[in-house]
Each structure stands twice: as structure tokens, then as C-alpha cells.
């Protein structure tokens, strides 16, 4: 059964304020322990040997010399892991193809990308482990590779998987293809829609893969005991999901693995799946020592998931008075070496901001010789929206309508039929557009070579499986054991705030923490903007359960009927003047007596939260373009977003600012650069250019609160939406500044300068 708690408006004492985060002091003093900060006595260091080729058949692997090196305790290769069938299998509620998981973790028949793991060693020190890697002999038969998505879709392109036939195509294709899946979404009559249009614009866009760029490289520590139990400490967005994946590939029982999540040094979707974790357990099993594995930054770039690069085609038709009549898109997404790009979500996000009668979106999930893509904040949506919002902007300009006005004329609202299925519920899109239009930023003057751009974004937000337990301690304080990871957005604070609000006590009296996998049942990842919504709902349920138990206990202690006891402002008191009167009891008073009156009190929740409320945002950006160098400078940035309810507004602002800046990096300079040999050329923070402090202005935020009717405090979720719009907004601002539209991300100086010189040449 699924759980949904309805929104109730009430006076709030704690929710909406800005208390200090419980993990703050540890993080400013160096005391907080991240993945690489854990160690065990007798631990070994594990290291991975990675493919130098983009695509090659592995003819043989000889580890004998490595094993002979003093200090080397174990080596694992493909032979140490069971073959998994090519089918979707459940891990918790995720369905994953373990044929691919095992192969991504450790190559089997072939290496499929530069950086693909081929072997792993455990040795007494980092230097011995490195020396051992150099002694492993791998014989490769190098194969032709393909990294461009359009090329990979062509018949005759080098095939990554000779047994892959495009799913979603009828009849079943006769030839294998790199296109793993074709999706189609739509509504209405697209041809008729374009017939009604006075203006039709059709454009093609291309984007490069970008990395989540978390500052903490993946790190884990595993200890396997001869009795078949394993402990794993790892930096993860979902310790239950990691446990499930490890159990499956190592063929262990789920309960035999205990995963303790460390503080996580950023994830953004990149720590949703295992990389070294199962290798570390396998090495520990083989060596009978704990094994620690920490990735280098180079390994992070070469071996872990970026978000896809893509080819996007958009066609839009509108009437002269500004009504969109038809919208069509084709999204060709790189999946990396194995299927599973976020093209389905991108397809659904492409046009879902607009009330459209005729839509068609085709998506292709295409394997290429690159690392398997992972989720990255609103997976896929920014790519589709870059194309769509660019064309929306061009259409508004062509029709002579203000870009916000044009969006308002076509804006989705409650009851709008989506092209992927349901009608939208209560949403705040129009409110964000109106707030953006009213913001002083939107009407501020611009100088020469400066331009302003606007773009909007939509993300579903999600719910799903969540557990927590809330325990009353003997002094009246409470501990809150959470099963959904705090990926650092501050969800521990937000959870404790909701519990304190429910109980009517001070925030500081609730101590939240994230428990290991043995203390609670399954939780889904912290991803998709679900934590504050779903985990928050679980916490509210647990708190209400505690209140009910406290009322019952006080009724017994005071010998009054249950109905006579009300819970108010942190204490039990007579419900009103008409009931049996009794001396009120505070939480510490009850806690002190709890043991002797039946035992302590706890609440818990094991739910599958439903009813996530979609989030919408509108971004405004001003840029200045240096026409002589092509450099684009971000002068001013404003994020307007409907978050439903900001439990902790400062942490919500932090999500909006951080997401927007990741989007700015995506727009301006971030990209994977590959050579003709299919080898990644920029696997480091020097040449993979994430924004630095001096690149940026302040990021203004406007929090719009249109409550989600399906959450007790109206929470929608806020982490995903802010990354969706920047790329499009900046492209639109550049166009506004210099009259040129950029069809290839990133809008790096060489690209911008080339666009300027090409335009000048075309004029001559």
C-alpha cells in the first residue's frame, strides 16, 4: 500500500526558519568522516587496472607476476564474478540489468571504454598496489570504436553489443544495433498542429557529456569475514541500493552485508550506483583483510558516470498571436557503454511546461564507447530543455512577443494534459513566470554586448520507499534514525525540523542521523528530489505515532480517558475545559516515567511515499560577450522556483544556487574531450573546467511556495529543477547580446568566437 499525507495549513514555529545544521560543526572542524577517512587495522589498499582502449576484445589476462610481487594479497578479474543473465532484476525497487552491472564493474569479453576496469589488486600499500597493476599483462585485440551518438546510430557503425536489438521497434529488427531502445511519446495530431501554425521553427542541437564533478572521489572500505558477513563503509546516495547491488553481484544474502554510509562529499546522481564496492568486498574475501579503495580524480572522470552527450532536434509551430500549435522533438542520447541513458525522462520533460494539444517526442537510447552514464540532477532534462527553450526563445522573438509573456500564453497549469500521460495537479509554473517578470532583474538596463536570457524548467520530483525510526530517550530528547541519505543538502536538519514541529519541541532536542542498513528496512536513493518529500513524510508519520503513544501513556499515568489528553506545544494537557482535568506532562516528565510505565516510546514509518508534486522554475541571466575572444561573462543570475514549501529556506537557496551554477558550468566550459583514439583527454579539474568562485556573480533566489497537496507541509522537492534552465537561459542571453544562436554546448570561447567570425564571413 502506498502512503500519501495531505497538506494541512497551520501556524508554523520551526518549519520555515533557519536553524543550524546538525552536521555543521563536524564539517567546519575536519571531524566529519567521509569515505576516504575510514580505516581498519590490517587494511590493504585496493587499486583498479583500467583499459587504455576505447573498444577491444580481451584475449587474455595474466596476473601471475602481480600476485608474485611481495605485499600483494589478492587480485580479482572477470573470472571472480558470476555471469549474470541479460534481464532486468530487482534491487529494492530499482530494476537493473545485472549483465551490464557486472560488466561495467569489471570488463568480461570486451573493454568498452577508456577507463573500463579490467582487474583489481589488494596490497599492503598504495605504492605496492600501483606496482602490481603494472605487472598485470592484458592482451587486447583493439576494435574500431564509436563515441559520437549520431555515428553510433548509423548502420555499419562498430557494435558494442552484437546481441543488442533495438527495443521498442516493431517488428523486431533483423540487425543488431547500438540503439538500445526507441521511445515515443505524444498526443494530438502533430501534422494537423503544424498545419495550423503561422510560423514553424526547426533546429538541431548537440551537447557533450558533462560530469557531476563532486569534489570527493568515490571511496569505500570493505571487510569480509570468514563467516560470510561483510561490512562496507562507502560514500553513497543510497546505502540500501548499494547493498542490494553488491549482494547480487557477489551472490550473497542481503542481510549478510551491512553498509554504513559515510558523509558524502557530493553526489548529484553520480553516487547512485556501485563502482569499487563489490570489488573491495571480493578482494577482502579473497585476501582475508579489510580492503580500502579510493579513486583518483582521473579514475572518477574516466570510470564513473557522466551525463550523456546528445543530439537534439526540435520543431515548433505557433500562430501569429503566440499560441503554440505543435511541438516535436527527437532526442538521441548517449548511454555510454551500456543502455540506460535518461532519455525517457528527458522526453517527458522536453515540453512539459506548456499546455500543448499536439506533441510528438521520439527518444533513442544509444550505446557508445564511453563510460556508462549515471544520473546527474534532473537527469536528461537540461539537454532536452536547452533545445526546446532555445526554440521557444527564437519563436517569441520572431513573433515579437516578450519571452516571459510568450511562455505565459502557453503555460501549463493545474489540469493541463501532459503528453506522457496524466493531467498536472496543483503546480506553480505561472507563479514563477510572474515572479520573474516582476523581479527588478528582468527590467534592469543592459550595456553594449550584454544580453538577457530566460528559460524555464520542469521536474516531476518523486517519492518512493522510505523508513525511519524516532526514539524517545530517557531525558525527553529524541533520536531520529533516517534511512534516506542526507546527500548534504541539509535533509537531516529538515527532518528534525518537521519532527520538532509536529511534537512542538525545540529543534535541538531531535538528533537526526542516518543509520546503517542493519538498523532499518529498505530505502530508495536520495535522488530525483525525493528526500525532503518522502523521508519528511515518514518522519511526520513517526512523530504522529509518537504523539499518539504519548497521549495514551499520559492517559494511563493520569488515569483519564484518552480523549481527554491533547498534545500541544510539546506537552500533554487536558484537551479542553469539558474533559477530566489533570496536571500537564512535558516530554521530559513523560520520558522519565516511561520505563516504569510500560517502556520507552518510539515511532517508526516504513512507507512507499506517493504524491510527489512537480517543480517548476524560471531563470533570468545577464551575460556579456567579449566579441574579440568569444568569452562569455555571467553578470547577473536570478533563480525563481516553486518548491512547494521551503522547510529550511537557507538550505533550499543553497540547492537553487548550487544547481544553477552547475548549469552555468555545463553551459560555458564543461565537456568531455576525446581524441580520435577514443581516449579521454581531460580527466582532471585543470581541463575539465567546473566554475570557480571568480567566474560567478551572486546567484539571487526567489522561493515560490505553492504547496504540494500531498505532503503534510506542502513540500515538492527542490534539488533537481535548478540545473535544468541555465544552459538554455545562457544560450538565449548570448543570442540577445550578439544576435547569434549557439547550437553546440558548451558555449566556450572558441565556439562563440567561431560563431561570430562565421556570421561576419556570411555577411561579407
Amino acid at each position: 500500500m502506498s502512503t500519501m499525507l495531505k497538506y494541512q495549513q497551520k501556524d508554523l514555529k520551526i518549519v520555515g526558519t533557519r536553524p543550524l545544521r546538525p552536521d555543521g560543526v563536524d564539517k567546519v572542524t575536519g571531524r566529519a568522516r567521509f569515505g576516504a577517512d575510514y580505516k581498519l587495522p590490517g587494511q590493504l589498499i585496493g587499486k583498479v587496472l583500467r583499459s587504455p582502449h576505447a573498444h577491444a576484445r580481451i584475449k587474455s589476462i595474466d596476473v601471475s607476476a602481480a600476485l608474485a610481487l611481495p605485499g600483494v594479497k589478492a587480485v580479482v578479474t572477470r573470472d571472480d564474478f558470476a555471469e549474470m543473465p541479460d534481464e532486468m532484476a530487482a534491487v529494492g525497487e530499482l530494476m537493473i540489468n545485472f549483465r551490464d552491472v557486472t560488466r561495467n564493474m569489471m570488463a568480461r569479453e570486451k573493454v568498452l571504454y577508456d577507463g573500463h576496469p579490467v582487474a583489481a589488486v589488494a596490497a599492503v600499500s598504495e605504492s605496492v598496489a600501483r606496482a602490481a597493476l603494472a605487472l598485470i599483462k592484458v592482451e587486447y585485440e583493439v576494435l574500431p570504436h564509436v563515441i559520437d551518438v549520431v555515428e553510433a546510430m548509423q548502420p555499419g557503425a562498430p557494435l558494442l553489443n552484437e546481441n543488442q536489438y533495438t527495443a521498442g521497434v516493431k517488428p523486431k529488427p533483423e540487425r543488431a544495433s547500438n540503439v538500445a531502445k526507441r521511445l515515443e511519446f505524444g498526443c494530438g495530431d502533430i501534422a494537423a498542429g503544424f498545419k495550423q501554425a503561422d510560423v514553424i521553427i526547426e533546429r538541431e542541437f548537440n551537447t557533450k557529456p558533462v560530469h557531476q564533478g563532486y569534489i570527493e572521489p568515490q571511496a569505500c572500505l570493505a571487510s569480509y569475514s570468514a563467516d560470510g558477513q561483510a561490512d562496507l563503509w562507502t560514500s553513497t546516495q543510497g546505502h540500501f541500493v548499494f547493498r542490494a547491488q553488491c549482494a547480487k553481484v557477489l551472490q550473497m544474502e542481503v542481510s549478510k552485508i551491512r553498509v554504513t554510509p559515510t558523509e558524502i562529499g557530493g553526489g548529484f546522481g553520480g553516487k547512485n550506483n556501485i563502482y569499487n564496492e563489490a570489488l573491495a568486498i571480493a578482494l577482502s574475501r579473497k585476501s582475508n583483510h579489510p580492503v580500502k579503495m579510493v579513486m583518483t580524480r582521473e579514475e572518477v572522470f574516466r570510470g564513473t558516470g557522466p551525463t550523456p552527450g546528445a543530439n537534439v532536434k526540435v520543431k515548433l509551430g505557433a500562430t501569429r498571436d503566440g499560441k503554440i500549435t505543435a511541438a516535436e522533438a527527437e532526442l538521441n542520447f548517449q548511454a555510454g557503454a551500456f543502455p540506460g541513458s535518461p532519455v525517457n525522462q528527458a522526453s517527458m520533460c522536453a515540453f512539459t511546461r506548456y499546455d500543448l494539444a499536439n506533441v510528438r517526442v521520439v527518444g533513442n537510447d544509444v550505446v557508445v564507447n564511453r563510460p556508462k552514464v549515471a544520473a546527474y540532477r534532473a537527469p536528461g532534462a537540461p539537454i532536452a530543455v536547452y533545445g526546446v527553450e532555445s526554440v521557444i526563445d527564437e519563436m517569441a522573438k520572431k513573433l515579437g512577443i516578450d519571452p516571459i509573456e510568450f511562455r505565459l500564453k502557453n503555460a501549463a497549469k493545474e489540469g493541463t494534459q501532459t503528453y506522457y500521460g496524466p493531467k498536472l495537479g496543483v503546480i506553480g509554473y505561472i507563479q514563477t513566470l510572474e515572479a520573474a517578470r516582476a523581479h527588478p532583474h528582468y527590467s534592469a538596463p543592459l550595456g553594449p554586448n550584454q544580453g538577457r536570457g530566460v528559460a524555464t524548467g520542469f521536474w516531476f520530483n518523486i517519492g518512493n520507499e522510505t523508513t525511519c525510526s524516532l526514539n524517545l530517550q530517557e531525558d525527553g530528547t529524541l533520536t531520529l534514525n533516517l534511512g534516506t541519505i542526507d546527500v548534504a543538502g541539509g535533509s537531516r536538519a529538515a527532518m528534525a525540523m518537521m519532527v520538532a514541529e509536529e511534537l512542538g519541541i525545540e529543534f535541538e532536542r531531535v538528533r537526526p542521523f542516518v543509520g546503517d542498513t542493519s538498523t532499518l528496512g529498505f530505502n530508495f536513493l536520495t535522488a530525483g528530489s525525493r528526500s525532503t518529500f518522502a523521508s519528511g513524510m515518514a518522519c511526520v508519520i513517526a512523530a504522529r505515532q509518537v504523539i499518539e503513544k504519548l497521549r495514551a501513556r499520559v492517559a494511563k499515568i493520569r488515569e483519564v480517558p484518552l480523549e481527554a489528553v491533547a498534545w500541544k506545544d510539546g506537552r500533554a494537557e487536558p484537551a479542553d475545559a469539558s474533559v477530566a482535568q489533570f496536571a500537564p506532562m512535558t516530554l521530559p516528565e513523560i520520558a522519565r516515567m516511561a520505563g516504569k510505565t510500560g517502556g520507552t516510546v518510539a515511532g517508526h514509518a516504513e512507507i512507499n511515499a506517493q504524491g510527489a508534486g512537480p517543480g517548476f522554475g524560471t531563470h533570468i541571466v545577464d551575460v556579456e560577450v567579449d566579441k574579440q575572444t568569444g568569452a562569455v561573462n555571467i553578470l547577473r543570475y536570478t533563480v525563481v522556483q516553486d518548491v512547494g514549501k521551503a522547510i529550511h529556506p537557507a538550505y533550499v537557496e543553497g540547492q537553487l544556487q548550487g544547481g544553477a551554477v552547475q548549469g552555468i558550468g555545463w553551459a560555458l566550459n564543461e565537456e568531455y574531450v576525446y581524441g580520435d583514439d577514443g581516449v579521454l583527454q581531460n580527466p582532471g579539474f585543470l581541463d575539465y573546467r567546473i566554475p570557480v568562485a571568480s567566474d560567478l556573480p551572486r546567484i539571487d533566489t526567489v522561493i515560490v511556495e505553492v504547496p504540494n497537496p500531498n505532503h503534510p507541509y506542502g513540500v515538492r522537492g527542490c534539488g533537481e529543477v535548478p540545473i535544468i534552465s541555465p544552459m538554455a537561459a545562457i544560450a538565449n542571453a548570448i543570442e540577445n547580446a550578439i544576435g547569434l544562436r549557439l547550437y553546440q554546448q558548451p558555449f566556450s570561447p572558441p565556439r562563440v568566437l567561431k560563431a561570430i567570425s562565421d556570421a561576419a564571413a556570411a555577411k561579407r
Binding site: 574579440q628 568569444g630 568569452a631 581541463d687 573546467r689 566554475p691 570557480v692 570561447p749 568566437l753
Partner: protein, 265 residues
Amino acid sequence: MALLAGGTDLLIQLRSGRADPELVVDIKAIAEMRAIAIDAGGYCVGAGVTCMELIEHEAFARSWPGIVDGAKYIGSIQVKGRATLGGNLCNASPAADGVPSLIAAGALACIAGPQGRREVPVAEFATGPGKTLLAPGELLVSFLLPKREPHSGDAYLRFTPRTEMDIAVVGAAVNLTLDGKGVCSQARVSLGAVAARALLVPEAAAALIGSKVDAAALARLSAAASAACRPIDDKRGTKEFRIKVAGVMAERAALIALERAGRHN
């Protein structure tokens, strides 16, 4: 054997395995290599002086602000706290930010070795990417900078996609001296990241000499700078981009040098 100065390049090479020396010799305890001294009216800057030490030397910065520009561009504050101009030159990256202004300044590299000491123009020190004219056993000790004439100014500008923390896609240094009437009497122009090593570009300097560094002279400078480029396409920029932007950087650097020369007595 590897020499360790600031270590900001060497440690990365050690870590990646590109360098695996049997012996690492730390040269930072050699006093001469750490000193900034007045020498024959000019400066003698030890090759082991860190960028931050150079940046903080106010008198040096007044004489050679362009060299300080270069030092400022080398990495973060953290990196500048360790990195040295000598290491920047010896690493022989074509994109080294410290080198073009030394070349434009006419600096000499003072080298010590088994055969004694010798001095060579900095422009000749790097012979290609990662290669220098140092013979086995030789060591770069210091840079010698000539006495500054009145009304002189220099500047270094580079282009990078980000404001900081990048390797130059193009760098340009301009060093010029004005006569009493504001006419450019001497000039040297150097470009970085547009060839296998930083270039001295006499044609670009010639565009300035005899002019008041007006728009026409700047246009000639820009054209000459672009014409001198022999760049490659790589992950950091295209040939086409480098050629165009070299001219732009040279022009902008000249304007800063001009303004500094005007203030310099």
C-alpha cells in the same frame, strides 16, 4: 634524478608515473636561488623564488609589473605559494605563464653547471615542449633583469576559458619604453601557447617602435602577433582561435604596458 623546486609540476608527474626518478633533490635551501637582489641596477631573481614572494616584492613589482602579471596567473594562491618562475621555465611548457614576460623583458637565465656558469637569453632556454638547453648536471640559478629605463612598462595577459585555474590558451607579453614625447622607443613582444615554445616576436615589436601606440600601431601589432603564431589544435583551443586571440591579447597587453610606462618615472 629530478630537481625539486616548488614541486607543482614535478609532484603531478611523480603521481601519474610520467616521472619516476631514483633521486629527488630539493634545491630550495640554496640561498642564492631564493633571493631577490638588485644587481648592476637591475634585478637578480633566484630561480627558486616562489610566485607569491615575487608578487609581494613591492619594488620589483613597480619595475616589472608584467613579470608579476605572469607570476599571478600561475595557478591558485596555493600553487603560487610554492611554484617558482625557474620551475615554470624549466618545465618548458609552451603555455607557461611566467615565461613570455621574461622574454619580453630581455631577461637572461643564469645557469650553473660542472663547466661553470653561463648566461643565456630566456627566449632560447626552452627548446620545445618539455625540453630545455640545460646540459646534464646544469641548474638554472637565477634570472637577470636589466636596469629599468624611465617611462618603461610591461604587461602580460593571457586568455583562458575561466577567470582562474586554467592553462593559457594564448598569452602575450609586451614590454615598452617611451621617450619624452610619448613615442615608443623600444619594445619587445612575446607570445605564449602559440608555438612549441614561447616566442619573441620582433615584427610585433616593430609595429610599436616609433609610434605613440595609437590605434594604427595596435592594429599592426595585432596583425603581426597573429601572423607569428604557429599553434596546434588541442583540447584547450583551436589553431584558428589561438591565431585570432593572440593579436587581441597582444593589443590589450600593449595598452596596459603603455599605461604603466606613462606612470613609471
